[in-house]
């Protein structure tokens, strides 16, 4: 929560929650937001490209000319080709806000006659898919204040000290630790969270977590530690999973010794963790997205939730379904996307898949190959808002190649990002302090905030909605935006009453005046309490009404490498890939505490906190003659980046790590001087659609510059 001080229409300071109870204290990124608003690099007025795409040379134009040129390009592309030739790359820059977000363009282009949408999430698709498959819902988490109720906690590839996830998550972990609860971290890196909370760190090779989980299941079955009554009563298909674990069909029992060769984790350690997790009920496995951002990432989440079912840690205080972490309290996600979205069809993940949509990892390939390459459309124009896809989607060099091929590129932005440099028309967007909105916490929780406008829009910037309203007028689309900002928000708030279990919500005027609505809960809120206490009357929202360890839906879908039970499937670009000879290091791309993805990378307060570096274990550095603070090139067949080296003991040998989000800045030789991790990543997704940003092989060499 941010409290913004304003004097004479100028933001002077930012404070955070100083109210009663557990305060919602802001992270460094929020505290630095003033410098973002007043950054000299803000885009100030509409611009038209004068140089080559990517050069960043533009001239100022008027809003009227901008609306005229953008609307005539939209019309020309639609009439010359088809509406589907327009690719709408509007992503998550403002996700969670009700009104000012990526859906403004979604609404405009839908009313205009169609477009090619994108689907997928760079963050948590594996988890989302697994939650929906296994539990029938993504509302499958506990509130953070339940963390100290556990007797044993595993943080699996999970680093909330840096990623925050939910405000106060790290705070509750420290309370759990102080209570004497044992916390274990399973992660290729010794993270800030491992250091602050865990008494045991188990380094694991990236992309192999599922093998360890399945071996833990083996230990539980072998030692009779699993809750057979729970499995019988609440789940489907455990027998099929058990047969796989024991190797009844494939003659390969998934023993700890089997997993040791895959994961690098000692068999004895796997046994110890399996026993401790099963025997210290209630116990929690906490995770979010990272281990699932791999080639078969959904298997990680499916198998993890299976472990929680095997131990009966579902629907009880101190347990956790180890699934998507939305707790059943407060406004649900549908409320967050607002009326603008609900009036449209197909915005939800399953719906998006049914449309001829492009997965976010395949945009560049689709632009380059079109229908001849098996894609649903020949893309001629990209319209990009609320995102920095050149930087944040995989394979940045291919992104550039693709964008250069297009006839037209329109971008809404606040800064001259690596993506903005490719715009033909570049339109300045205002910040969250320059408009009114409502927001719910992105992963749910017992509060929502009225984001009141604190200053007028700076320079000539406008919100996405204002820009699209201007375009709608030029395009002659009536009814695009007949309401004032306040009327929209009042409507949304009214509608939100049907999308919350926290009743009654205060009336709109009270909420607006108070600025925040905190839902008072006398105890933690947990998922599936009713389903466990009274299963007869409260089935799980799955086809079978039970927790689906075996999914009939997946059986019917019959997709290669998307089995109906959770299984370990070896990733590409893993330790048995022949490519390992050429590129012997696994790369993981992490979240930096200095940035929100690529946001804030240009903000001095944040930039100077820590250098942007690649982590390498001292052993791997030594064999390459690399020392701490050296400059190095990290490379593979997809590209080469220049970056400073951090030689550290905090990462498993054989793996290097780069914080994603640094701004792509290729030099004349094609070497990215910005150190953008996505230059190196393969533009591929898992069978269910996970963004495989932790499945990648590279090599690293010391460089002169």
């Amino acid at each position: 929560m941010l409290k913004v001080h304003v004097e004479d229409h100028i933001i002077t300071r930012i404070e955070t929650d100083d109210g009663e109870g557990t305060q919602l204290r802001a992270c460094a990124r929020g505290r630095a937001y003033r410098q973002r608003v007043y950054s000299p690099d803000r885009l100030k007025y509409p611009m038209k490209r004068t140089g080559e795409r990517g050069e960043g040379k533009f001239k100022r134009i008027s809003w009227d000319q901008a609306f005229e040129e953008v609307s005539s390009e939209l019309t020309r592309i639609k009439e010359t080709y088809a509406p589907e030739a327009i690719l709408n790359i509007s992503y998550s820059g403002n996700t969670g806000t009700f009104l000012h977000n990526q859906l403004s363009l979604f609404r405009l282009l839908t009313m205009f006659g169609g477009f090619t949408p994108i689907w997928g999430s760079a963050s948590f698709w594996g988890s989302l898919f697994s939650s929906e498959t296994t539990f029938g819902t993504v509302t499958a988490g506990h509130t953070g204040d339940d963390i100290p109720n556990a007797k044993y906690i595993i943080m699996w590839g999970w680093n909330p000290a840096e990623t925050v996830q939910k405000t106060n998550t790290a705070h509750y972990l420290s309370l759990a630790k102080e209570k004497g609860i044992k916390i274990v971290s399973i992660d290729p890196r010794f993270t800030d969270s491992a250091a602050a909370f865990a008494s045991q760190w188990i380094p694991i090779r990236p992309g192999t977590d599922t093998a360890m989980i399945i071996a833990m299941a083996y230990v539980m079955i072998n030692e009779d530690l699993h809750d057979k009554k729970f499995l019988e009563k609440y789940t489907t298909g455990f027998d099929k999973f058990e047969a796989y674990v024991l190797g009844t069909d494939d003659k390969q029992p998934k023993t700890p010794a089997w997993a040791e060769t895959i994961t690098g984790v000692k068999a004895e350690t796997i046994k110890q963790i399996a026993r401790q997790y099963a025997q210290n009920k209630p116990s929690k496995i906490l995770t979010l997205g990272a281990p699932g951002r791999t080639a078969f990432g959904e298997q990680f989440h499916r198998s993890l939730s299976t472990l929680s079912a095997m131990t009966g840690n579902i629907g009880i205080y101190g347990g956790e379904p180890a699934a998507f972490g939305l707790p059943p309290v407060g406004l649900q996600p549908a409320a967050g996307t607002g009326l603008i979205a609900r009036k449209m069809t197909g915005n939800l993940p399953e719906g998006a898949r049914q449309r001829p949509a492009l997965h976010i990892t395949k945009l560049w390939d689709a632009i380059l190959k079109g229908k001849d390459g098996g894609y649903p459309a020949d893309i001629k124009m990209a319209y990009i808002t609320n995102g920095n896809p050149v930087n944040q989607f995989m394979n940045s060099n291919k992104a550039v190649e693709a964008l250069k091929k297009l006839e037209t590129i329109i971008v809404h932005e606040q800064f001259m990002t690596p993506t903005a440099k490719y715009a033909d028309i570049l339109l300045p967007v205002n910040t969250q302090f320059e408009r009114n909105d409502i927001i719910r916490p992105w992963q749910g929780g017992p509060y929502c905030i009225y984001l009141n406008k604190v200053i007028d829009s700076l320079y000539e910037s406008k919100s996405d909605l204002e820009i699209c309203t201007g375009l709608a007028e030029k395009l002659g689309l009536s009814g695009y935006n007949d309401l004032t900002e306040d009327e929209w928000l009042r409507d949304f708030w009214e509608a939100a009453k049907d999308m919350t279990d926290s009743k009654p919500l205060p009336d709109y005027d009270t909420f607006k005046k108070e600025g925040i609505f905190k839902i008072k809960t006398d105890k933690p809120v947990i998922a599936f309490e009713k389903q466990i206490k009274d299963p007869e009357n409260n089935p799980f929202p799955t086809p079978s009404g039970k927790i689906e360890i075996y999914s009939k839906k997946l059986e019917e879908r019959n997709t290669p490498n998307l089995p109906p039970i959770p299984m370990y499937i070896e990733t590409w670009e893993g330790k048995n890939d022949p490519l390992l000879e050429k590129y012997p290091l696994q790369l993981i791309t992490t979240h930096s505490k200095k940035r929100i993805h690529s946001n804030m990378d240009n903000i001095q307060w944040m930039k100077d906190l820590e250098p942007h570096v690649v982590w390498i274990n001292s052993e791997d550095a030594k064999t390459r003659g690399i020392e701490n603070n050296d400059k190095a090139h990290v490379f593979n067949d997809r590209g080469k980046i220049s970056i400073k080296v951090k030689v550290t003991e905090r990462i498993i040998p054989g793996t290097v790590s780069i914080g994603q989000g640094a701004w792509y800045s290729p030099d004349k030789e094609g070497v990215d001087r910005g150190g953008c991790a996505n230059v190196l990543l393969k533009d591929e997704h898992s069978p269910a659609g996970a963004f495989c940003s932790n499945t990648c092989l590279v090599e690293i060499n010391k460089s002169k510059n």
């Binding site: 404070e15 505290r31 790290a170 800030d192 250091a195 602050a196 003991e649």
Partner: protein, 184 residues
């Protein structure tokens, strides 16, 4: 009376919220001026590693070495609460006096901006906030509740009297006004 800080190193995750809150509250745009800083400390060999952070500002020492070192008498200590104060008019500036205060301080607390002959800046314990009955902004910002502020007597009563932690040695000479809870 002497005001002081409490730092619970076992809680600190190195998130830098205190650093940014300090920069914002005091409008410090030159990031080489580190009124409050967070310093990581990595020890050990894979996979047996220790990592801790220390969040530190001026420790408002009982016997401040900076004060003694200042040739212009620009540094003083408030009698009422022991807060260190720098007289910006009296300070000679970094180029004129070779930053004797910075050299004398065992904790590198005195800070100078990049600009020519910049004057010394130091943690004020947010005296403007104290006047408003608020704690220093770093304390109120900490998402981990790892920082606290009060009189040294209050802090000792509440947290004990551990005066050293990895990354920080207690100076018998200056007697820094800070209490710790170590991580290891």
């Amino acid at each position: 009376m002497q005001f002081g800080f409490y730092f619970d190193q076992s809680r600190c995750t190195g998130c830098y919220a205190c650093v940014i809150a300090c920069r914002d509250w005091h409008n410090i745009t030159d990031t080489s001026v580190e009124i409050r800083k967070v310093i990581p400390l990595e020890q050990g060999k894979y996979p047996e590693i220790k990592l801790s952070y220390i969040s530190l500002s001026c420790c408002h020492c009982e016997i401040p070495a900076c004060k003694e070192a200042c040739p212009a008498g620009a540094i003083s200590k408030r009698e009422i609460d022991g807060i260190m104060v720098v007289d910006q008019d009296e300070c000679l500036g970094k180029d004129s006096c070779k930053m004797f205060c910075k050299e004398a301080c065992p904790y590198d607390a005195p800070q100078f901006a990049k600009e020519d002959n910049a004057k010394m800046q130091i943690c004020s314990m947010c005296t403007d906030r104290l006047d408003d009955h608020k704690k220093p902004v770093c304390v109120d910002s900490c998402p981990m509740r790892a920082l606290d502020f009060g009189t040294m007597d209050e802090l000792k009563e509440k947290y004990g009297n551990i005066r050293e932690v990895s990354g920080f040695t207690y100076s018998e000479v200056t007697e820094p006004s800070i209490i710790f809870k170590p991580r290891y």
